[in-house]
Every structure is written in C-alpha cells, then in structure tokens.
C-alpha cells in the first residue's frame, strides 16, 4: 500500500492548485473541438520545464485525464467529439441532447467517467509495481526487444495500414539517430545546421500533433455558429442513482477500457467503440442504441476514462505507452530525467506515487468540475476554427522555442508538422513515428551495449536471439504484426464480399 504513503503530497498547496488548474484547463481544452488530448499534452510540456518533476507530472496527468472526459461535452452538445476517444459517446449523447436531455447526458458522461477512471487508476496502482519488478530482470537485449515491440505494436494496432504503420515507426527510429551516437559520441546525418543537436523529442511531438491539426482546422472552416441544444434542469443525484443501476454498461465499459488501455498503442477511441459495441450486443434495448440510449454514453465514457490508468502501466514499467497521449507523456517523463522502469518505484518513488495518487484525486475533481462547468461550455464550442488555428500555431512555436531557446527547433517542428499533415492524408499515422523517435535513443543505446556484451560472451547473435524473455518478446513482435496483417486481410475480404 505504498500509494497511501504519499497521498498527502497531492494536497500540498502547490500540487493541489496545479491539479485543480490542470483539471479545469483540461476540461476546457477537451470540450474545445479540434484540440485533442494528445495535442493538449504535447503543447503543455514546454510549460512544465520550470516546474519540479512532481508538479510537472501532476499537471500533465490532470490534463490527460480531464481532456478525455471534457471531449464528451462538445460531442453531446454540438455533435462534434472533442477527441477521437469520444466518438462512441456522440452516437447516443447527441440524440439524447436533441431530445431535450442534454444535462442528463452530461451527468451520465461525467459520473461514468469517474467510475471507469477510478477503476483504471486502481489497475495502475496494483499492476505497476510487480511489472516494474519484472523489468529488473531485463538487460540490454530485453530492453532492445521491448522497444522494438513497442514500435511494432503501436504500428500494428494504432489503426490504419500495418505496413504504413511500420514504415512510420522505422522512420521515427531513423530520425532519432540524427545527431550524436549515444554510446560512441560520433555526429551523424547533420545535413543542415538546424539538425546539429538532433531532433528534439518535444519539438517533434508538438510538430507532429499540433501542426497537422492546425492545417486540418483551416481546411475545414467552421465559423463557430453551431447549433447548440438547450440544457434542461436535471438533478445530479437522480443521474447518479440511475448511472449506478446501469451495472452492465458500467462493467462492460470499465473492463474493456482497462484491457484496451494495457495494450500498447490502442488508445481511447478503440476502448470507447469496443465498449459501445459490446454493450449494445448485450443490451435488451439494443434497438434504442444510436437514438439516445443512456447506456451508450455510460459504456463509452466509462471505457475511455478507464483506459487512462492502464495505459500508463506499460509506460511506467517498460517505457511502452498504452496510447498516443501516453507516448507524449513519456516525452514529459524523459524531459524530467525520469526513465521508465524499477527506478521510478525506488529512487523516484515519491514523484511516481504522488503522480499516481494525483490521478486518483484528479478523477474526482474531474467529475465535480465537469458537472459544474459543462453548462458554460457553449463558449468554447463557438470558437471559430481560424481563431483556434492561429492561437495553436503561436503556442506551438513559442512552446517549441522555449525548450532550448533555439530557432532551429521551431524550423524542425514546422517541417515535421507540415510533412505529417500530407503523410496523414496518404494513410500514415503520427503515433508510431513519435514512439520510434522517443524510443530510438534507448533502443540504439541498448543495441550498442548488447553488441559489446555479446562480443565478450557467446556472440551478438546468441545474445539477442536466445534466452526466454528475448524469445517471448520476439514472438510478441511477430504475433502483433501477424495478427494485424490477418485482421486487415479479413477486413478487406469482408468488404469485397459485401460489394460483390
């Protein structure tokens, strides 16, 4: 019960203030259409440089949690999901709002988010330490394969084309080698003076997640004149009582969210959609789904928030993020000098447990503030796209510049961002590229160390390709790719059969 030991740390004036600000800010950002949780966390990282590591992680964690929940607000009120994780919520949330039950739908959304979120953080609390202990047994070869597994699974499961996902991951790994070799210190691939220090992870994160979003906002003009459903008066207590009675939807949502969260790279969108689909299949009122069934909102929202805690389990123990936002959070950890693995629970136990405890408290704050401020959300949903794009662009440039006070980082960020916008149109995704970039240095370092160790033992080949853990990890890499190829082929066959 080590997590209880540091619980008081969350309630110090600084930490609690940051938690409240992060939660409220995250809810507002989440409710703003066009600002995804991943982009919000990426844009926030530069703001945390001046903070001590605990405060910085509390802020990032609070924003991560509350943007996912806040994304439901714009989905329910104006039919525009604030984040991909809220797509499933909209299917019944918006019809509920259209039938004059908008407040009720928001209540269900926040109450079920709290339920899922608390269970998700409990999974994080109880599963992380044993997995971190297991990581103690890992040497350079195992750590190398874990990093490769992280890239292959995020490339395979992250949605879209498997080969394109793998190409993105490999490109990220290659880009990470620009600059100095981590072991031998030799400078490589410095084609221009802007690349002299390599590609900074934060600059890349901001570029890859913020700039494509900005360009998309400008491409799809929206003047802010959205049709907003009227919010009725509805008792929170009544909604609470109703939500608690929807055991099946809550359990399916939460369990799905926890399972999807632990799978590296899957993310909230998959959690929400799978939970929604399963709840519909097991429901007596399945015909009502899509027409304003509260269970649809409850299942989707409990799932996408239950995903948050478990998505940090592989991140904190092995350095493999469970979602694209967790990948950005990994960047935040590394910037603060915190490396995933057992050290987080020994040397940095205070920082880590305070962060995890803050996620628990953050869930409660998220519900309280969510219920109180959602009625004012009409203001953020009315922000026109061009205003949003202009402000995000300036924030991205300032944020990137402040990382190292270097204009080259800004240039690299913009080049990567614009490139990603066009690459996304061609079916490539940013998440594997980012993960490759983040894990690249670690992968190469372990590869070089493994080579040296292998040379001094039975040879490099035997060092990397024998041993139980190595073989398990290699099998997992092959299986993750194989399964994705199989699923893709099956999907194509089904489409071909349907069109025939």
């Amino acid at each position: 019960m080590e997590f209880l030991q540091y619980f008081g740390e969350v309630f110090t004036l600084t930490h609690f203030t940051i938690l409240v600000l992060g939660t409220v800010g995250g809810l507002i950002l989440g409710a703003t259409p066009g600002l995804s949780p991943t982009m919000a966390v990426a844009l926030l990282i530069p703001f945390t440089f001046q903070m001590e590591p605990t405060a910085s992680l509390i802020l990032l964690g609070a924003v991560y949690t509350s943007t996912v929940a806040g994304g439901a607000v714009s989905g329910i009120l104006v039919n525009i999901p604030g984040a991909p994780a809220n797509i499933a919520t909209v299917m019944d949330g918006y019809p509920l709002a259209q039938s004059g039950r908008a407040t009720e739908a928001l209540h269900y959304s926040f109450i079920s988010s709290l339920f899922g979120g608390l269970i998700g953080v409990a999974v994080l609390i109880f599963f992380t330490p044993p997995l971190a202990d297991l990581a103690l047994k890992f040497g350079p070869s195992e750590l190398f394969w874990i990093a490769i597994f992280g890239v292959t699974i995020i490339a395979s499961i992250g949605g879209g084309h498997v080969i394109k996902g793998l190409i993105s991951g490999a490109l990220g790994l290659w880009i990470s080698t620009i600059g100095y070799n981590p072991v031998l210190g030799e400078e490589r691939f410095v084609f221009t003076e802007h690349l002299a220090g390599g590609v900074h992870v934060i600059a890349a994160l901001i570029g890859l997640f913020a700039i494509p979003q900005v360009l998309t906002l400008l491409q799809t003009s929206r003047d802010g004149k959205v049709e907003m459903n009227v919010m009725e008066q509805h008792s929170v207590l009544k909604s609470l009582k109703y939500t608690i009675t929807r055991v099946k939807a809550l359990v399916i949502g939460t369990v799905t969210g926890c399972i999807v969260g632990v799978i590296p790279g899957a993310g909230g969108q998959i959690a929400g959609l799978v939970a929604y689909d399963q709840t519909r299949k097991f429901s007596k009122n399945r015909d009502n789904f899509g027409k304003g069934e509260p269970d649809g909102v409850i299942a989707a929202e409990s799932a996408n928030n239950a995903m948050v805690g478990p998505s940090l389990v592989p991140l904190l123990t092995l350095g493999i993020p469970g979602s694209p936002t967790a990948a950005v959070l990994l960047g935040g950890l590394l910037i603060n000098g915190l490396f995933p693995g057992p050290d987080l629970f020994t040397i940095h136990a205070k920082v880590t447990w305070t962060f995890i405890d803050s996620l628990l408290v953050g869930q409660v704050l998220m519900m309280i503030f969510g219920l109180s401020i959602s009625k004012y959300s009409r203001f953020v949903t009315r922000i026109p796209n061009h205003m949003m794009a202009a402000t995000v662009t300036v924030l991205a440039i300032f944020g990137t510049y402040s990382v190292q006070n270097n204009i080259s980082d800004v240039a690299v960020m913009l080049v990567l961002g614009v490139g990603m916008f066009f690459a996304a149109k061609a079916g490539f995704s940013a998440a594997p590229l980012v993960l490759g970039l983040i894990l690249g240095k670690l992968t190469e370092e372990n590869f070089q160390l493994g080579r040296m160790l292998g040379d001094s033992q039975d040879g490099v080949w035997s060092y990397f390709f024998t041993g139980t853990i190595n073989l398990i990890l290699i099998t997992l890499c092959v299986l993750s790719i194989g399964f994705s190829v199989y699923s893709e082929m099956r999907k194509k066959t089904k489409v071909a059969e349907a069109t025939a």
């Binding site: 190409i167 490109l171 490589r188 400008l218 003047d223 794009a389 402000t391 006070n405 061609a426």
Partner: protein, 148 residues
C-alpha cells in the same frame, strides 16, 4: 492499365535516400543501427510498392485536391515567413503579425471591417497573454529583433 502507386514510390525513394545516407561511412560501428533501420525501411517500402500496385488500393488514403492545397497555401507561406521574421522583427512582434494575418485571411465574415477588428483584437490579446506566460512567468528569453 494500373495506376502507379505514387505515394508508395515516394516512400521508397525516401527510404533509398536514407539508405544512401546511412551506408558508406568509415566508422561502421556508429552507423550500424541506422543502417539496419534504413535497410528495414527500404524493405517495407518495397513491400508497400508491390502491395499497392498488385493489391487493392489503401482505403485510408484521402484525396489531396488542388482546392484544399490552394486554401492552405497562404498558411504555409505564413509559417515560413513567421519563422524567418522571428529573429528579424522579434518573437512577440512576428507572433502578433502572424496571429493577425492567419485570423484575417481565414476569417469567414464578409465585412472587411469586422474581419480586421476581430483579428486585430485576437492578435493583441493573445500576444499579451503569451507575453505574460512566457516572459513574465516562465522567464523565457524570447529573440529580439527590430522590436520585441
């Protein structure tokens, strides 16, 4: 006649360039990891070319029409100009100008006066906000040029 998989070919060309950059160095040790990655990348891109040419086209591809590129062109020019102006005009001045121009160009209102006033208001207010956050609170040393 089958259409050429242009995206896959472009990816293959990029991978070939990365291979060219990774191989052919005297210090083989420092380049071994990028060589393996570039080689794998080339293999994957080759697979993509074959797959896109002989198999079904990828459904995830969205059309990039000329209309949307033309719509985004001012923004792309603005981004390049913004970065160029940061060291010449100063960070805050160029940010205010960029904010104003982006908001003004992409504003949907027909009235020029309305567009001008709302864009200018946003530019000034947001630049002030950024100044407080970065220069006052975070004490970031923003580049100065002719102005701040």
């Amino acid at each position: 006649m089958k259409r050429l998989p242009l995206i896959a070919i472009a990816a293959f060309a990029l991978a070939a360039f990365l291979c060219y950059a990774s191989f052919g160095h005297e210090s083989a040790d420092a380049y071994l990891f990028p060589q393996i990655i570039a080689g794998s990348l080339l293999g994957l891109c080759g697979l993509l070319v074959v797959r896109e040419y002989f198999g079904n086209p990828d459904v995830a591809i969205q059309s990039i029409d000329m209309k949307s590129i033309i719509k985004l062109l001012p923004m792309l020019v603005l981004l390049a100009g913004y970065v160029y102006c940061i060291e010449w005009l100063g960070m805050y001045s160029s940010s205010a100008i960029a904010l104003f121009l982006i908001a003004f160009i992409y504003h949907s209102a027909d009235s020029i006066v309305k567009r001008f006033v709302s864009s200018l208001t946003v530019a000034l207010l947001f630049t002030g906000f950024i100044y407080v956050i970065f220069s006052v609170l975070l004490r970031v040393q923003a580049p100065q040029g002719l102005f701040i």
